[in-house]
Subunit: 487 residues, 2 copies
């Protein structure tokens, strides 16, 4: 089913990331892009397992934080969109419209949700009446639809998967606290479970979510040096509660509009980041806890015909290890070398080699996917050593990713430096006049001069203070900002 | 959030099922139908929990049977539909079409999937090449879209939730075996986990899935006497593999079209059946293993102000019971009676009443949702007695549902009897000339004379032999069939 053998796999991650990436998606059997509608991919079992895992990590964290699951309709009537001016302007160029059904033209167009504020908030105005209805914290795990020009599996699609959490509060303070909680959830899962370090930015005023007061986002760094947004959370203030009339009555009978936030962990994009950041020249490298198969047993019979004793030992070992891990046994007719390549391509963290020597000595040879190091293990210690090796692989992935990110944050003191550094890839730190609307002109100059470098914003929670002048216009700098090309 | 108190709840399930049903959906906080697009409902947390449970039961069973999860695009181009003639004729009256995106008209229309044969099979022709690619057994858990005239939450919707499993085999025999496995999975989960007995029919030739060779379906009986289809499986033969060119090469180099099946457990409809069949005049009644809250603790303080000691005891009990069950403690300001009504409406199987007497004697009073019986329990036995009570409630639900179904299967020997019995509701057994196309005329007469009674088919696996004549046309009967009005 679409596997490409290691021998045919020649793409170089560093030199040609895009070719490498698209080959991996196909060769590791994550998705099929041959479906006959652009930007709509077929998700195969290998990626579905990972997607479900990431979904459950976020769902569990959101529920622990007091959210409950809901499911809103896929379609949103045009009139709902038009209630918030910036929102409709921001999204309408990217909307798919349903206009016909049952052989007739519909009386009004229905959008495939590009995001669901205008679906949720219509009901929030019915559900929220008194102080005791607040906070209201709900999420849904769904597909979304945006008519994007360029598409790439798990990076940018016309259909993609995410979670959207929509929260409503009585006070502005609580809504601001929620933004911090959202970012904490995203940062922790990304680092502790996916092994992906992120930079968290407060986006510039001109790059906010349409309708938001403030937008915060988690950016990964992809191997080609571009920033890649994987989660966002928005402080919506009362921008939606006013047009949607979401009010509560306080203890004294006074009516108040609620303060809202919305949080969008980009589950689909996280798969893209996972593939890109941890993968290597042999294929995927998956964190132990996220892999559809954690360890694969490969029997290495002396004769091509195989030895029944060896196979029996492997089968018993599989049965035993399955009590603790997700284990597969590859007893197909292929050669051991061919099998090594296939399972490496799929990113399985640990390969367990069992030959005549291992059978005789009651040992196993563990091969790590990341370093390709081989470790001899006594049969009795198998569970413990597999667990330790899984942890060690994960630590190694995190360290590599953190080093890669750190090494690609540079500081520019001049336009020339900025240009060179953006060219090189990664994030470039610099001082800017402003990230409010008056700074937009300088950001446009940066984008033009660097061939696409975008101001990502200021680092969240770091409170970095500018000391000098805007490197573009020379006015006193009000912000320490970061620039990067982006996906 | 939309709770209706028991005191306001007056609908009578037997006399006015439709009113009862729609009140329950709202009052038990399962869904909100006030979204401004007909037939698209908002699923609330209480139903989401049940939906997720039912999904995981089926997903687990399908994976155990060798299926793997995938996710195909929501949209299907018009040209795919047109490949199978009966299929496009059967579905096109009900399709929603996306015709615009990004401010422009699309070059070709895209259907919101009403079912995904024509999406899956395009890829199956690429994935299936050799004998070793078979069997191919994949499923997806998704929403579906059909432009239905009448809509009702969890009964018939324009957007609804289901699973579709699409299997391909080298031989016809294997495909027929799969149909039996599918029906076994559906029957077991419905009865053993949802407590819903079904009749399984082979549908008449004129009522098959468009494009199928044979269609089998599980019908529940709703309280108003109508049959309600909750799962179907179809033998597709080579009807799709030929137009979609899905072939494999055998050992000798010969090319063969695959044999296919597709299975559709109607997750969404199962919620509707669960609500309808187990519910009573006080609201929902949920099986212990499917309830979002399995037991709710209600403190009953002697004074309205409450007793701190009592609350502490309740909190400790919650903490302890939570290790084994999903437990809630309702320590809100409402009166105990009000709380009883609310939690009964939501169908929570066990209420745990804790008053001063229980506190003093170190006991608990368990109240069963189904029989409303109260059981005194020693504190130390709580876990065991809750578990037993949960099981006993489930057994009782199953017995009631089975009796209700059995009592509503009647036999008719004449047109007059048939008419009266269909009027009464339930299934009517009768002998018919044929369930092949030549029997259609008699079925039409039945439908007309009984005001909507439809021939559901012959009972699967029972091999019932007709002994007499068709009660409509008088020709020799070839089938023992069942007639019922339907949803």
């Amino acid at each position: 089913m679409g596997m490409l053998s290691q021998r045919e796999f020649k793409a170089d991650k560093k030199k040609n990331f895009s070719e490498w990436y698209n080959t991996i998606i196909y060769a590791a059997d994550l998705a099929d892009v041959r479906y006959n509608v652009q930007g709509f991919i077929v998700h195969k079992p290998w990626s579905m397992f990972i997607i479900k895992k990431i979904y459950s990590l976020f769902e569990e964290a959101l529920e622990k934080d007091g959210h409950k699951p809901v499911l809103f309709p896929l379609v949103i009537p045009e009139e709902n969109f038009e209630k918030e001016k910036e929102h409709v302007e921001g999204f309408s160029p990217n909307v798919f419209w349903v206009t016909e059904a049952g052989g007739e033209k519909l009386k009004r167009k229905l959008a495939l949700r590009p995001t669901s504020e205008t679906a949720f908030y219509q009901l929030y105005s019915l559900w929220i009446q008194s102080r005791s209805d607040l906070p209201l914290k709900l999420y849904q795990s769904t597909n979304m639809f945006r008519f994007e020009a360029e598409t790439n599996p798990f990076l940018r699609g016309r259909e993609f998967l995410w979670i959207e959490a929509h929260d409503a509060f009585a006070t502005e303070e609580e809504s601001k606290e929620q933004v911090g909680k959202d970012l904490g959830i995203a940062k922790e899962i990304l680092l502790q479970h996916l092994g992906l370090p992120v930079l968290i930015f407060k986006r510039p005023d001109w790059d906010k979510f349409p309708g938001a007061v403030e937008t915060y986002a988690c950016d990964c760094l992809l191997p080609d040096g571009k920033a890649f947004q994987v989660a966002t959370t928005h402080l919506l203030g009362q921008n939606f509660s006013k047009p949607f009339d979401i009010k509560f009555v306080d203890e004294k009978g006074g009516k108040h509009f609620v303060f809202q936030t919305c949080f969008g962990p980009g589950i689909w994009r996280m798969v893209g980041a996972l593939v890109s950041i941890h993968g290597d020249e042999r294929g995927l490298v998956l964190p132990f806890s996220l892999s559809p198969v954690q360890a694969v047993i490969i029997p290495i019979p002396r004769k091509a015909s195989g030895s029944e004793k060896l196979l029996t030992y492997c089968r018993e070992m599989k049965k035993r290890l399955e009590k603790k891990f997700i284990v597969d046994l590859d007893d197909s007719e292929k050669t051991p070398g061919y099998k090594y390549n296939e399972w490496e391509m799929r990113g399985v963290p640990i390969r367990i080699e069992v030959g005549e020597k291992e059978l005789k000595e009651k040992t196993l040879t563990l091969a790590r996917r990341d370093t390709r190091e081989r470790i001899g293990v006594k049969e009795g210690d198998a569970e413990e050593r597999i667990k330790d090796t899984g942890n060690s692989i994960f630590q190694n992935l995190v360290e590599n990713a953190e080093r890669e990110l750190k090494e690609n944050i540079r500081s520019a003191d001049s336009r020339e430096e900025l240009k060179k550094m953006v060219e090189k890839g990664g994030f470039v730190k610099l001082e800017l006049c402003s990230l409010e609307s008056e700074g937009k002109e300088c950001a446009d100059i940066i984008k033009y001069e660097t061939g696409g470098g975008k101001v990502r914003g200021t680092l969240y929670g770091e409170n970095q203070k500018p000391a000098g002048k805007c490197i573009i216009c020379g006015k006193a700098a009000k912000a320490v900002a970061y620039v990067a090309k982006q996906y």
